[in-house]
């Protein structure tokens, strides 16, 4: 088990590293961040200063190694340089330094620390909606199998899978925020409960595809479980229908949902990028797009690293949870 976790963690780090190298090359080799940040009117001297300040005048390999924190700092504008100009030391990932944002005038780590909780709030709300809606519709559809309720909701769920967030989001905005005025037209609000209030519509938008998937899986798992022998035994014992469904049926039907929840993280990440842009929610997704548009290379790197790490951790947790809950599952050697 422990060996497996270590192996998986190693693999996760490898994947994140590959993504990091790719995005680093993409931003710094293919793109031209200096020109993008300073604008088309910047003179050569200005560009030169910017490059020196951010270490962009160094060879790419040195830049990347310094970014990782395995060779000394090359960014002359960094805090390490300001404190000890003669012996700057290291200023990379290993030292917990993600560099300075080109556009935010702040260390990337601080920008992310500021933004990440907002996206997490959105994610938590969305997962709540997904589970609440998906599981309850799935159970009801399974119990009332082949009635109009079942067919109707399952058709809706299938349609739900085909509704991209950038379609549902603007429509929700139009209907619930604009016509009815029940929710604010985007933004983040002030104070925790106001954040939650502002987050309901985006989180609901984000949750639709997931809720539809959960409903479909819960239904099919539930139908299979309700057919098994121990459910018949429970009925024979004279247990009430709700006890049977909740205590005996649900517990087993929920197993696959745990895996799904882990995999959901990557969907939520992708969804957050779009949803946050629709609802002007100032989280990581909005930051990702802003920094890509502005070729703010250090911020893009930071965001991509955080997102990739989240996805990896989610996948790992899902596999571990399944192994813990289902004694039949033995974790193998294959990282998959």
């Amino acid at each position: 088990m422990i060996q497996y976790v270590i192996k998986r963690l190693g693999w996760a780090i490898f994947v994140v590293a590959v993504v990091a190298v790719l995005v680093f090359l993409l931003m710094n080799r293919v793109g031209a961040p200096a020109v993008a940040t300073l604008g088309p009117n910047a003179g050569p001297q200005q560009i030169q200063d910017f490059k020196r300040k951010n270490g962009l005048d160094q060879p790419l390999a040195v830049q990347f190694a310094a970014y990782l924190g395995v060779v000394p700092c090359v960014r002359q504008g960094s805090r390490a340089f300001k404190d000890h100009p003669d012996d700057p030391g290291y200023c990379g990932l290993l030292q917990g330094d993600l560099g300075d944002s080109f556009t935010h005038n702040e260390p990337v780590a601080r920008v992310i620390a500021h933004r990440l909780p907002r996206t997490l709030l959105l994610g938590v709300l969305a997962i709540f909606f997904e589970i609440f809606l998906g599981v309850s519709v799935g159970i009801l559809a399974a119990v009332k199998r082949n009635t109009w309720f079942d067919t109707g909701f399952m058709a809706t769920a299938f349609l739900g899978i085909s509704l991209p967030t950038y379609v549902t989001g603007p429509i929700f905005l139009l209907v619930f925020a604009f016509f009815f005025g029940w929710f604010p037209v985007g933004g983040y609000g002030e104070g925790f409960w106001d954040h939650v209030y502002h987050g309901i519509l985006p989180a609901f938008t984000l949750a639709i595809v997931g809720a539809a998937t959960y409903a479909r899986i819960t239904r099919s798992e539930m139908i299979e479980t309700l057919r098994s022998d121990y459910i018949r035994t429970a009925k024979a014992k004279g247990l009430g229908p709700s006890t049977i469904v909740v205590k005996h049926g649900l517990r087993n039907a929920l197993l696959p949902l745990v895996t799904l929840l882990g995999l959901d993280l990557s969907l939520l990440v992708a969804g957050a990028i779009i949803t946050e842009n629709i609802f002007a929610w100032p989280g990581m997704g909005a930051l990702a797009i802003q920094s890509i548009v502005g070729l703010d290379a250090p911020t893009v790197m930071g965001v991509v690293l955080v997102f990739s790490a989240m996805v990896q951790v989610g996948n790992l947790l899902a596999d571990l949870a399944i192994a813990a809950l289902d004694p039949r599952v033995r974790l193998g050697n294959e990282p998959s």
Partner: protein, 284 residues
């Protein structure tokens, strides 16, 4: 195609509805631009915008059936041409994806060994990447990307699922007795792959390919919605949705038209894919 599969498909109402939607969308996207006489990028500010700059609605100005868009271009022409762009990207990207996926899947399943391991690890890496972010980042740094760059990009990063499925199927077929027999007869590898392996993996490939078109429409529209896909002034359903959203208060229809087409296309291809899956593989 197996006649029984075709019969099963014909009986499946959902699949037929999907095929119907797909036909409409394809007609709109590929025949529509030839029918419409208007230039999708030309502005008719005086005719199609009111003095306050609000676009005029459908059936108001003769010759402009759906009225104007946010800056006075012909909405119908933009919808039709935008559809051509969206579907073109989706279909070419899918075609490329299917080609790469089939090639990687069949060869790595058939030959196995180190070649197979390396490719499957590559699949793992690609699958764990934040797909949308990487696609957007690549498209951003390619200066002024052409439409073809967009579908090559999408094709190059999305062949993973298809490769996995065809690989598994190939490995199954490889062990079949008739393949062993073909080997014993001394048939060449190429012949075995084309005569025995490919026909068996083609079914799943078509099914996945169909749902992939839906995925590609979603990704392309998402990128264009964010302003980082198809470049303006060229229309695409995704970018039209974004532009329409800005005028939500005055003309919600500008947002709803492209939204309806996107949903129709995605829903249609998803239904069609699901129907094909049931038709090819009734056990599932």
């Amino acid at each position: 195609m197996d006649p029984r599969a075709f019969r099963r498909f014909k009986k499946n109402k959902g699949a037929l509805f999907g095929a119907f939607l797909v036909t409409i969308v394809l007609l709109v996207a590929f025949v529509g631009p030839f029918v419409s006489s208007q230039d999708p990028n030309e502005q008719y500010r005086t005719q199609l915008l009111t003095d306050e700059g609000v676009p005029r609605g459908p059936m108001v100005v003769p010759g402009h059936l759906l009225g104007g868009d946010t800056i006075g271009r012909d909405e119908l022409a933009r919808l039709l041409h935008g559809g051509a762009v969206s579907m073109q990207v989706a279909i070419f990207a899918t075609a490329l994806t299917v080609l790469i996926g089939l090639y990687v899947g069949v060869t790595s399943g058939f030959f196995g060994g180190l070649y197979d391991s390396v490719l499957m690890r590559l699949v793992d890496v690609l699958l764990s990447m934040p797909f949308l972010l990487v696609a957007i980042a690549i498209n951003r740094v390619v200066d002024n990307p052409a439409l073809s760059a967009l579908y090559v990009l999408l094709g190059l990063i999305s062949w993973t699922t298809l490769a996995r499925v065809t690989r598994a199927k190939t490995m199954q077929v490889r062990e079949m007795e008739y393949v062993q027999a073909a080997r014993a007869l001394g048939l060449s590898r190429t012949r075995i792959v084309f005569r025995h392996v490919l026909p068996n993996v083609l079914g799943p490939a078509i099914v996945i390919g169909t749902t992939l078109v839906a995925q590609m429409i979603i990704v392309e529209s998402a990128m264009s919605y964010l302003g980082l896909g198809v470049q303006p002034p060229r229309a695409s359903w995704g970018s039209m949705l974004r532009e329409g959203q800005e005028m939500m208060a005055h003309a919600p229809r500008l947002m709803l038209y492209p939204a309806a087409f996107i949903v129709m296309a995605v829903f249609g291809f998803n239904l069609l894919g699901e129907g094909l899956r049931d038709a090819f593989d009734p056990k599932d």
